[in-house]
């Protein structure tokens, strides 16, 4: 799950929990507030009643010792004064009681207070109906829920926008530093603009890591390039020595056969060195991309070079080039070598009397070239490693090779921004799919 989604989700859930809690607690809260409010009112009324009694005398309320009581019209409040014996002692309480008034049971909040005038003990009772308080609970709860849910939605939206904004540098770092760049050619360091120090830290760390990797790669490439160059001269000397020895008249055929063996081995060394040098030159971008070619011409050229090998193995070669568009800004020598190696592999790992099909078509605005063989195939677990140098997985039938054919293909494809895909089934065949970048003109 995305960090942004996670953050928003967490925010939403936590807010929701709080809101639900609040709504559930709402009735209790309201009751408490009401009670406090009522109690306050009762106390105030009590004070008023006492002041009135003091002013007008108890006689104004209690005629002939009859208890005084007065209800409001709807009986939601009443006041009563009565004599009482002294046994209760001094009393000033507020309690909740049920009273039956004219057949209705009404919940009252009742204030009781005792006071003394002369020798007589009186009890003042003020009651206030609280039956209506609970009535609004449900309505209040639902309103509160709606309002709060609406607010949550608003904050979620705000959260989304803000987290999107604040996390954007992360996306940019990944896009420009890790995905957008062709590994390991990263070029110069460009700061990703952000005020979040964590992202600045990440950006810097990634760049530092890249620099380390890059310099390691650079060293490796330099080494390969230097080593290959240094090997060229001694190979050259050996080759000319062998060639000269061939011409010597005193050399017997027996020795010549041995010289031939040496020549073969030297050729192998030469091929390896040349190939490594080529790969390092491609990786160092020492080739120009100034040619314009068409797939048909390239495949025809390869066919002319390679037809003898097809013939030797009795392999049928078919081409199906739907869109023979020309490819600008490529290196013909390299593309030729790429197709040569792919088709050569398709021959090498093919069965006697097998088939090779080269297809070319446009898919999703990109030129696709497929090389399909009916060969021995590659096991699925080996596919990830076939582009590694000097890895030989497939035992070719008769010929020998040294495992640099596909690495050359890969370097050339990378150099031109071509994606390679391999699909294969053992003993059925292998398909190499090349996706060229962009729309060819």
């Amino acid at each position: 799950m995305k960090l942004q989604t996670k953050l928003t989700l967490f925010n939403a859930i936590s807010k929701l929990v709080i809101v639900v809690l609040f709504v559930l607690l709402l009735p209790t809260l309201i009751r408490n507030i009401n009670q406090n409010y009522n109690d306050n009112r009762l106390h105030k009324q009590e004070e008023k009643a006492i002041v009135l009694i003091q002013k007008q005398g108890i006689g104004a309320f209690m005629e002939n010792g009859e208890p005084y009581s007065s209800y409001t019209l709807l009986k939601d409040e009443y006041i009563s004064i009565d004599t009482t014996d002294g046994s209760i002692g001094k009393l000033d309480t507020i309690t909740q009681q049920k009273r039956k008034v004219e057949g209705d049971t009404i919940n009252y909040r009742i204030l009781n207070r005792t006071f003394k005038i002369g020798k007589t003990n009186y009890m003042l009772e003020i009651g206030k109906s609280v039956s209506t308080i609970g009535d609004t609970d449900v309505a209040l709860q639902s309103i509160a829920l709606q309002v709060l849910l609406g607010m949550i939605c608003l904050t979620i939206l705000a959260d989304l926008f803000y987290s999107n904004y604040i996390l954007r540098p992360l996306d940019r770092i990944i896009q420009t530093k890790l995905i957008g760049n062709k590994f390991p050619n990263f070029g110069s360091y460009k700061k990703v603009r952000t005020t979040t120090s964590d992202f600045q830290y990440l950006d810097k760390s990634i760049h530092e890591m890249i620099r380390t990797i890059e310099s390691a790669f650079q060293k490796e490439r330099e080494f390969i390039s230097n080593a290959s160059h240094e090997l060229m001269t001694p190979i050259s000397i050996l080759q000319s020595k062998i060639e000269n020895m061939f011409q010597r008249e005193e050399i017997t055929d027996d020795v010549k056969v041995r010289l031939l063996e040496m020549q073969k081995i030297l050729n192998r060394l030469k091929s390896i060195t040349k190939t490594l040098l080529l790969i390092s030159q491609i990786e160092n971008a020492q080739f120009l991309k100034e040619d314009t070619v068409t797939i048909k011409n390239l495949i025809d050229d390869v066919y002319n070079e390679i037809s003898i090998r097809l013939e030797d193995k009795g392999i049928t070669f078919k081409t199906n080039i739907e869109n023979d568009t020309s490819l600008p800004e490529v290196n013909e020598f390299l593309l030729f070598n790429m197709f040569f190696n792919l088709i050569n592999n398709a021959i090498k790992y093919n069965k006697e009397g097998g088939e090779i099909v080269v297809k070319s078509f446009i898919d999703d605005n990109r030129l696709i070239v497929q090389i399909i063989d009916t060969g021995i195939g590659i096991a699925a677990e080996q596919i990830p490693f076939i582009f590694n140098r000097f890895k030989k997985f497939r035992q070719s039938m008769e010929q020998e090779s040294f495992g640099l054919g596909l690495p050359i293909v890969k370097s050339i494809a990378d150099f031109h921004g071509i994606d390679i895909n391999v699909s294969s089934a053992l003993n059925v065949g292998t398909t190499f799919t090349l996706r060229f970048p962009g729309v060819p003109l």
Binding site: H229, M232, T233, I235, S236, I237, Q239, S240, K241, E243, N244, F246, Q247, D253, K256, V257, L260, Q263, K264, L266, N267, R268, K270, S271, K274, T275, L277, L278, Q281, Q286, F287, L288, N304, E305, I308, R309, E311, D312, F336, N337, F340, N341, N344, K348, E398, Q399, E400, S401, F402, G403, L404, G405, I408
Partner: protein, 226 residues
Amino acid sequence: MNVLIIEDEKSLAKELEIFLANCNYLCEICYNGKTASEKIAVNLYDFILIDLGLPDYEGLDLLKEAKKNNPEAACIILTARAEVYDRIKGLDLGADDYLPKPFSMLELQSRMQAIVRRKFGLKHTIVNLGDFVIDLNDRTISHQDKEVSTITKKEFDLIAYLIMNKNRTLTRPQLSEHIWGSVVNDDYDSNYIDVHIKNIRKKLSVHSAPDWLETVRGLGYKIKLN
């Protein structure tokens, strides 16, 4: 013909000398750029072979001097530096050919022959082999004035290479290096040469048996030509 070999690798220079002397060239060797520069200024050569990687001299400067003082000489650049830019620069400066190390001396010799043919205007280098007439310039092979059109480009390359190195046994690695040398690929098997030779024989035998194309058992092939 006079050849100046400028190569700081002594053993390579020596081998070149032995080989070219065998092919009847007169050779002089320079192991460094300074003496080479002096020699170029004083003597006239038909061929100057320049190694670009000289320790004391910029090889391309030598090429310029050679073009100035020895305008008739054909210059061939030999170098381990196979970078494209060098190649373009060398040819821009008037080099007649370019051979990246490691090269086969047979290749060098056939390139020198090609330059000679070009320079001295030998419009048609015609070779008679048995009942066949081979024109190296037009790249045709004919039987009784009729062209054998079935011969492919690669097959002709093979025949031409054998003719240029006539009376010499060329091994399969040497032949495959010549005809597939520009391709960088990952197998060193040269048995395909046999398939080519078989095809050539089949195509020519329709007209007349090509006895001149000899198989040297266990070694390779040879064209006998007097």
